[in-house]
């Protein structure tokens, strides 16, 4: 059930009304039923995989907590030394359970997602080596939301294994946590400690949550239907015929795609978080003005935030502190005593994180390149950091001066746009071709000679795009200054705020890029 479909609106209204009509105590049960209904309607086909993940992780979690309790009981009357011994044994045992369950679940994800990629490349190698065997290509359809719910499940299990909290005893409540419908398909990836208790308690109806939730959904729909889907026309047109375009137009399409992806993904998150808010549940943010970033590192703390956090807590730190990295770092340190060597574990961990982040998006070389592109930028940034500081000091450039900040933001923006060119391209070759063709025909004349009107959009579309993107940027800027837009509007008199609300709704209906003459645009991240 796509978030921008009519059915979803009705579904959401029904779910919310029924929720608040029921007594508080059983509201969480209604939510659980709503989640199950949503998943069955939208993704019945491979739901068994989801069930498998939920069940295995639930059991593994309970098992670990049981072991912890056993440990406490047994070691009560032991000496310090004996306790330490037992602890090690238990830790090893728990680790095995966690690793086994994680492998089972990640295994499903990896198998279904990357099997075709691996097969395809094996065949390619065979072809190169003139071996005439070709393994038949079988691709598997992905269970709905698998990339998101698997990470969520694995994160939960690792937390329980680390003793951060006890496993959820109540199976129904665990299912509720895993299947909460707004974030099942595109995130945000939630931690059990963030949302579980909020989901399980029945919430009192709050006017503010209800109204602000609806407004947030409206804003998200506006970004997706008016801005993103309209830009899609232009982006698709150029990418489908990319060999005919070069120079400035490539820059145009790259910036357009960046805007499209941001409008769509952050708009989707608005719909998701707004939908959750209707039930009184707060989901974590996934975007925080990413284009205000002054560095790529900062960008990944502001773009797809929950994914970055997940990789930080469950891959980056563990890999940096792993025995393997420590060993290598120690070996290098004993030979060289260099600023860079101190960063060895960090570099290893970064490499793993970015390889996995890239691959998480899909089984193809361009996603791998996408991940490594950022690894390279961040690693290079760390390497040259001392030199950059030296240069800055030499020229007396203040770190917080407007000029320097502008420079940093522009540089970061360019890097982001290039990164998304890799992301959007169908193959690495296409990206390389398109990127190199930028330097071939960098003219401003394309803006004045009518070329822009041959890309699928007409004059009125462009006016609308400028106005709506400007609005999006304005809203974002106000928010960075600490202005809470919904609160601000709510504080206005009724004859000011109702027209604003009507304007938003009518804009979506009138200016939306939907209906006759438009191809429906699927949510990009729903395919991951």
């Amino acid at each position: 059930m796509a978030f921008n479909s009519y059915v979803y609106v009705l579904f959401l209204i029904a779910a919310v009304i029924i929720y608040y009509c029921l007594p508080k105590k059983i509201r969480w049960i209604e939510l659980l039923c709503v989640n199950i209904i949503y998943y069955l309607i939208s993704g019945l086909q491979y739901s068994l995989f989801f069930v498998f993940s939920i069940v295995t992780v639930y059991i593994a979690g309970r098992f670990i907590t049981l072991q912890d309790q056993k440990f406490d009981m047994i070691t009560q009357n032991l000496t310090r030394e004996e306790q330490k011994e037992k602890k090690k044994a238990f830790a090893k045992y728990k680790k095995r359970i966690v690793v086994l369950t994680i492998l089972l679940n990640l295994g499903i994800l990896i198998f279904r997602k990357y099997f075709l990629f691996v097969l395809f490349n094996i065949n390619r190698v065979f072809a190169l080596l003139h071996i005439s065997i070709q393994i038949p290509q079988i691709s598997f359809a992905l269970p709905l939301g698998i990339s998101f719910y698997t990470l969520q499940a694995v994160g939960y299990l690792i937390d329980v294994g680390r003793g951060q909290y006890k496993a959820e005893k109540n199976f129904a409540k665990f299912v509720l946590f895993m299947t909460f419908f707004p974030h099942i398909i595109e995130g945000p990836i939630c931690r059990y400690s963030q949302t579980a208790s909020s989901l399980a308690e029945g919430h009192e109806f709050s006017k503010e949550n209800f109204l602000f939730g609806i407004q947030r959904i409206g804003w998200g729909l506006f970004k997706k239907i008016v801005i993103a889907d309209r830009l899609d026309i232009l982006v698709n047109h150029i990418y489908a015929n990319y060999k005919e375009y070069s120079g400035t137009l490539i820059i145009v399409v790259a910036v357009a795609y960046t805007t499209q992806l941001y409008a769509e993904f952050s708009g989707c998150m608005d719909i998701v978080i707004g939908s959750a808010q209707l039930f009184g549940i707060t989901l974590p943010e996934n975007f925080e003005h990413p284009f205000a970033s002054k560095s790529i590192q900062e960008y990944w703390r502001r773009w797809h935030i929950t994914l970055g956090k997940w990789f930080k807590d469950y891959v980056f730190y563990p890999v940096s502190l792993s025995a393997f990295s420590k060993k290598i770092a120690r070996k290098l340190k004993s030979r060289y005593n260099n600023y860079l060597v101190k960063l060895t574990s960090t570099f290893i961990a970064l490499f793993v994180v970015w390889t996995l982040t890239g691959m998480w998006h899909g089984g193809s070389f361009r996603y791998l390149l996408y991940g490594w592109y950022y690894f390279f930028i961040i690693a290079a940034g760390l390497v040259i950091e001392p030199f950059v500081i030296q240069i800055r000091e030499h020229f007396h450039i203040q770190e917080h001066s407007i000029i320097y900040v502008c420079f940093q933001r522009s540089r970061t923006f360019i890097l982001i746009v290039i990164g998304l060119m890799i992301f959007r391209a169908t193959t690495v070759t296409q990206f390389v071709n398109m990127f190199s063709s930028i330097f071939n025909g960098l003219t401003i004349s394309v803006f004045f000679d009518g070329t822009m009107l041959k890309l699928g959009l007409d004059k009125m579309d462009f006016y609308l795009l400028f106005a709506s993107v400007f609005l999006m940027i304005a809203v974002g800027t106000l928010q960075t200054r600490g202005i809470k837009i919904r609160q601000f509007v709510a504080n206005q008199a009724i004859y000011i705020r109702w027209p604003i609300y009507y304007a938003l709704i009518m804009s979506i209906i009138v200016f939306g890029a939907y209906g006759k003459g438009y191809t429906p645009v699927a949510f990009i991240y729903a395919n991951f």
């Binding site: 009519y6 059915v7 009705l10 009125m460 109702w498 009138v510 209906g515 006759k516």
Partner: protein, 326 residues
């Protein structure tokens, strides 16, 4: 304390209702603005050929043939007029679904009082879509017909002075009377005809709901409903035939299937696209098939000598010029 909460609640609900009413008012206004002020292609109307029915003289059309593209390409109103003098219109549109049929008929009844409505059995079946997609499509089409701004919102780019006056004046007039005339052919080599494997082969709950509405609507106007299936290889098979036959029997409606009976279709010359749709040659045979049914089973009036219907004769002359240019 309780009273305060109660009044707050009531105030909130009333405000909410007022807001929704306001929204409907806005949507109505925008619909009036964006709805095409004519039923021509130039005015921005979608499916303008089928909507040519709006331009016809009030209460002059006795038979409405309404359905999907097979009807659009298969039923020739002018042939029926020429041979029997019955006035009819072809309201076939691409991929029409049963809810569209219902809403379209509702609008047609505002200016016409057909004695017979021929409904394309194809509207019961939608290729390759899930129940979820069907429900979404049904909601979408309901909005299209009840709040036209949802269908015509893109006209914001091309609004003219006429749009602001709000007056609608239907002028589209065409001797084809909704029929899509094509005289080239692409043969279909018979393979699995009527034994195709198709999805969606049963009359669903949603179909029943809307068909019941159509039956009620037609009954209230004294119109006879006939379910009809035009010759096609791509979207029909025995299972669908049986499903519709059973449903028709249940609802005591006639059902005639040009695939089930041999009406003389020669798939080498009668299709324009390899068996999906008929061309003019095939349409003539199908229209004859329908004509025979109407002659035997209905008591329609022959208007050929009625001076009030002289424009139909003029149209016939134009039509014959078009299909047999001298």
């Amino acid at each position: 304390m309780r009273n305060k909460k109660e009044t707050e609640k009531r105030e909130f609900l009333i405000k909410g209702l007022l807001f929704l009413v306001g929204m409907l008012v806005c949507l109505e206004f925008l619909s009036l603005l964006t709805y095409p002020k004519d039923n021509t292609k130039k005015s921005g109307a979608y499916n303008y050929q089928a909507k040519g029915i709006y331009s016809e003289e009030k209460k002059s059309v006795d038979v409405i043939a309404i359905g999907a593209s097979n009807f659009w390409c298969g039923y020739i109103p002018m042939q029926i007029w020429k041979n029997e003098g019955y006035t009819s219109y072809n309201c076939g549109t691409l991929m029409q679904h049963i809810w569209y049929t219902y809403y379209f008929l509702q609008k047609i009844y505002k200016t016409q009082q057909p004695k017979v409505v021929l409904i394309d059995a194809d509207v019961f079946f939608i290729e390759d879509s899930t129940t979820l997609q069907n429900v979404n499509d049904m909601i979408r089409n309901t909005l299209y017909w009840k709040l036209p701004v949802v269908e015509y919102h893109d006209r914001w780019k091309s609004l003219s002075r006429h749009d602001f006056s709000g007056k609608v004046h239907y002028t589209f007039d065409n001797e084809m009377k909704g029929f899509y005339y094509v005289n080239y052919k692409q043969p279909y080599i018979l393979k699995n005809y009527m034994h195709q494997r198709l999805n969606n082969q049963e009359v669903t709950v949603l179909d029943r709901i809307f068909m019941s509405k159509i039956i009620k609507l037609c009954k209230s106007h004294g119109t006879k409903i006939v379910l009809v299936e035009a010759p096609t290889e791509s979207s029909w098979n025995y299972i669908r035939h049986n499903a519709i036959a059973a449903y028709a029997k249940e609802k005591k409606m006639d059902f005639i299937d040009a695939n089930y009976q041999n009406i003389g279709i020669d798939w080498n010359i009668d299709s324009r696209d390899g068996g999906y749709h008929l061309n003019y040659s095939g349409a003539q045979k199908f229209t004859t098939f329908v004509e025979d049914y109407l002659k035997k089973n209905t008591k329609l009036t022959d208007h050929r000598l009625d001076s009030n219907y002289s424009n139909w004769n003029t149209d016939l002359a134009k039509f014959q010029n078009e299909v047999n240019p001298k």
